[in-house]
Symmetry: C2
Subunit: 386 residues, 2 copies
Amino acid sequence: MRDVAMVGAGMIPFGELFDQSIKDMVSGAFAATLASVDKGMPVGDIQAAWFGEVQSVDGFPAGLLADTCGLLDIPVTRVENACATGNDAIRNALYAVGGGYVDVALVVGTDKVRDTSAASTFWDWMSTNRDMAWDLPLGLISPASFALHVARYMHEFGATREHLARVVVKNHRNGARNPYAHLRFEVSMEQVLNAPPVVEPFGLLDCVPQSDGAAGVLLVSRDVVDRYTDKPVWVRGVGTGMDRIMHAHKTDLSSFAATRKAAKQAFAMAGIGPQDIDVAEVHDCFSGVEMMTYEDLGFCDRGEAPRLLEKEETSIGGRIPVNPSGGLKSKGHPPGATGVAQCTELFEQLRGDAVNQVDGARWALAHNVGGPTAVSAITILEGPRG
Amino acid sequence: MRDVAMVGAGMIPFGELFDQSIKDMVSGAFAATLASVDKGMPVGDIQAAWFGEVQSVDGFPAGLLADTCGLLDIPVTRVENACATGNDAIRNALYAVGGGYVDVALVVGTDKVRDTSAASTFWDWMSTNRDMAWDLPLGLISPASFALHVARYMHEFGATREHLARVVVKNHRNGARNPYAHLRFEVSMEQVLNAPPVVEPFGLLDCVPQSDGAAGVLLVSRDVVDRYTDKPVWVRGVGTGMDRIMHAHKTDLSSFAATRKAAKQAFAMAGIGPQDIDVAEVHDCFSGVEMMTYEDLGFCDRGEAPRLLEKEETSIGGRIPVNPSGGLKSKGHPPGATGVAQCTELFEQLRGDAVNQVDGARWALAHNVGGPTAVSAITILEGPRG
């Protein structure tokens, strides 16, 4: 196994991109990713690509990346793993680079959620992305299935809607300053708590927006890293964890078992622990999910996540800033792109170039959890000083 | 990079499996795959899995494999690459095993084409799996898009519908003896030539059936191969090639550029050439595609493919038997499973256990071509004597 470096990372601004086809979005993210490489990279250096897309709305996914970006002489694989697609695509690319099969790999993630084709929509996917016989008829689509977890956590540990709102206020504060964010405005505690209800305990502002977007990263082996940059970010750990699909089969709703498994793999591979992480992008598809994930990632002890929020330890300037990009909540959530865009943010953080910079960050962690809370993917990065 | 061996391969009989859910199909293929390991394999030995599925009809794909097969403590990734999904999933698993990240990997491929859920069908996917703005309105769905290639080839090289029919007769002859085949009957030249037309030059019997099915293989590193078998099959080469999506952009319809690119990669990795292949499973989704692929794989010179069929060189007992399993044409074609099932057949061929055994076969090749003729994936295997 060879060390693998991230030498480029870029994205297009997320939003309701009715003015862009998915081809525009993908080629925009590819161009931004190439442009981020310090010493430049000829397209011909790329030897393989992975394309993270949850639901296709045009073309066929792998071909769409190859054809749109002029990558017709290399293998392209589509990876789909629900909302964990982005970080799982990076994991697959890492195996090929670290394993010695290719020196330079591209990962692009995208989804077009707000725009649909005649025959296939993102929401077709959403409705099948769970057990069709039992959970779907119960209404356990995404907000409801996450709400079961968060409600149980609140019951067990005394967390309140105010704690959830703290996540929202924090992430919107960060996202308001991020030019790539979908929802670039701040919100107050009162606005969050008084927003129309979606599903108990979530109001409208506890929920992620529906976003279109695309992002990319370039992974290279240590052997060739000097060609592209003197400030590489190292991919030190990857992990993908699974859980039961049906909520009736989950043994503890106050935690996300998939996240715990992914974290265990990624930390073991990186040879570090949660206490070493300086900055994290965490899957805040719903406010309480970020809060619960602090514990599943080991950022604090069991039941202590509400205290982290009270002490603002996950705000910029706190002990372990989470979602300096604005998170899914403010930056937006095109599922195939989300994990890749988290790594774009962390690439900038670790090189000291981020909009909401976390001073001196060396170790960073990107986290997705998705499907019917049944999959998580995590990437651990180390900055150029590593 | 470490040598990678296939130590197990299994499948369920393909067909119209209205009596089985996709969970039944997947768990059936997994059980058959485990049962094929000579010295047995505890489920706990499997360290990662790849799931090839073109279109989900229940659950979410990676979770469906994990949950149904009790693989909840390992990473599972869904790979989708149109009809090349199966062999591309094997390529991704090979990177992880050969790269040293895992010692034992499972690949399962499946699709449920004849059964649909309320919200998502295989045919939704089929209609989006091409350029939606230009090619779909022209009616360039799968049979028509392949027909453009075959018609052009026939025009340039003087091939006839009789040549195409020879492919069909050969593959049904093989498939009639294969207990895992969907269409277990022989057909005559007259039946093929007189079948109702689908799209020029294809009649109904030139076309693949719509099949449900699932298949699996187990890949392990050389370091642990002795635990599982004394007759490993070695995965020597993999390749995935791409082509333009729109037919107006393809420079030569008398060939499949994606196949040529995939073959070049796979042969280079294996360190052999087409003349070394003893038996092949080739993507005969339409009769003429198999014929043209003889040339794209290098089994004969340009324009010579009709001669191979006239001389029965690709029949059992010929110089290079193709599709001893019956091929997609008779065995059936659940797209996500097809490439994996090709390797199941070749695993048995190389170990001397096949129903239609090719005597003394040492090198084998599995080939998919799909999407709007825009992707190909190839796996090259070497038998235990290698």
